[in-house]
């Protein structure tokens, strides 16, 4: 079953829409029942999106939801998603894929902050850039992303994979400041450059193929290693010794100045 949601033009396109109801499983029942919040007003989904449904499905795995038009301010799409597919043709708003545990989300444009926040499983693929806190956790919570696979073809913002506790995050472009900060487990791979990675990390593995600026002084050099793919030689660091750090970073090139 294909569910095509085309965003209707809005009088004030800047007001955020909270749409945690947009998950594949939900469309096994009639879409009329779904409400979204536009600012402080609850509205039927059909007020905000034109809904077209092709075919049928018996379970969530058989449902693909396609978002069209301006969805850059639509938040919480795919929250708690367990199965099925969501395909976003342009940009998507914050908290896309919160607590996602299965299924797949593909974003052709850019993703706003907190993409895949506290993700447990499933796959997210973002073809554009992801903003801050990509694959991170929630305020005060000790664990961020715990499982699943999150790939960003473009750049990612600051605090990427903060509190990473499991699963895999791959950023093809550059990251901003402090990726992998407080990281506990899981793997983070940054193909491009970034600054001050993995502060206070206690576990997990981070690989950075670009250049690191502001390398933290509290990581201990522990030899070199070859990266299988591409045969690039990387330097291995262990830390963060400011904490009881048992984490590992592989870096191609770094400087201590910011």
């Amino acid at each position: 079953m294909r569910v095509i949601l085309s965003a209707r033009p809005r009088k004030n396109p800047f007001i955020p829409v909270e749409a945690e109801g947009i998950v594949p499983a939900r469309f096994l029942q009639p879409a009329e029942g779904i409400t979204v919040a536009v600012g402080n007003r609850d509205r039927p989904l059909t007020d905000v999106f034109e809904v077209a449904i092709e075919g049928t499905a018996t379970d969530a795995a058989g449902v693909e939801v396609v978002l069209r038009g301006d969805t850059s301010r639509v938040k919480r799409v795919g929250e708690y998603m367990e199965a099925g597919k969501i395909r976003v043709e342009r940009d998507i708003g914050m908290h896309c894929g919160n607590f996602m545990s299965g299924g797949e989300i593909e974003i052709l444009g850019n993703a706003d902050g907190w993409l895949g926040r506290e993700m447990r499983g499933g796959r997210i693929l973002c073809h554009g850039n992801a903003s801050h806190y990509c694959g991170s956790g929630y305020r005060g919570e000790k664990h961020g992303m715990r499982g699943g696979y999150l790939e960003v073809k473009g750049d990612a913002g600051d605090f990427t994979a903060e509190y990473l506790a499991g699963g895999e995050v791959i950023i093809h472009g550059n990251c901003g400041d402090m990726p992998g900060v407080e990281m506990k487990a899981g793997t983070l791979t940054i193909m491009g450059s970034c600054s001050r990675p993995c502060g206070n990390m206690t576990g997990g593995t981070c690989t950075i193929l670009g250049t690191v600026a502001g390398m933290l002084p509290t990581f201990r050099r522990a030899g070199t290693a070859m990266r299988e793919s591409g045969g690039i030689s990387l330097t291995r660091f262990e830390g963060d010794v400011a904490n009881r750090g048992k984490g590992t970073i592989f870096i191609r090139d770094w400087q201590y100045t910011l």
């Binding site: 902050g113 907190w114 801050h132 806190y133 913002g157 600051d158």
Partner: protein, 129 residues
């Protein structure tokens, strides 16, 4: 000249914080404290004016010499003048970069704007009753 901007509280700024339309407040918040060395490099003296730019935004300030400010940095008291160039990005923290922003500084003959003029540039309307 590429330089790092820091903003911060000062006594005069605090004294007139409840009376911002006053000339004293505008005078304090439009002061750009630079290391004497940097003033020399810019070929200006204390009291001359500088244009401080960050991205598409810029503001004109009055240069002042300070031995406390390390070369390569610029200190401006909190207020509307500095905020005219501070970017709004908060990196997902809610807090803009009020300190440690890379800016360009160049000499200029343009006058320093009053706080009301700055507000009008942003779509405000002066209240001078």
């Amino acid at each position: 000249m590429r330089i790092i901007l820091n903003t911060g509280r000062t006594i005069p700024q605090g004294n007139f914080v409840e009376y911002k339309p006053s000339p004293e407040y505008g005078a304090e918040t439009s002061r750009a404290f630079l290391a004497p060395l940097d003033l020399m490099d810019l070929g200006i003296e204390a009291g001359d004016r500088v244009r401080v730019s960050c991205g598409s935004r810029s503001v004109v300030l009055t240069a002042a010499a300070s031995d406390d400010v390390p070369p390569g940095t610029l200190f401006v008291p909190y207020g509307a003048h500095a905020n005219h160039v501070v970017p709004a990005a908060t990196h997902g923290t809610g807090m803009p970069d009020f300190k440690g922003i890379g800016v360009d500084v160049e000499p200029t003959d343009e006058p320093v704007k009053s706080v009301w003029e700055l507000m009008e540039d942003l779509g405000g309307k002066r209240y001078d009753h």
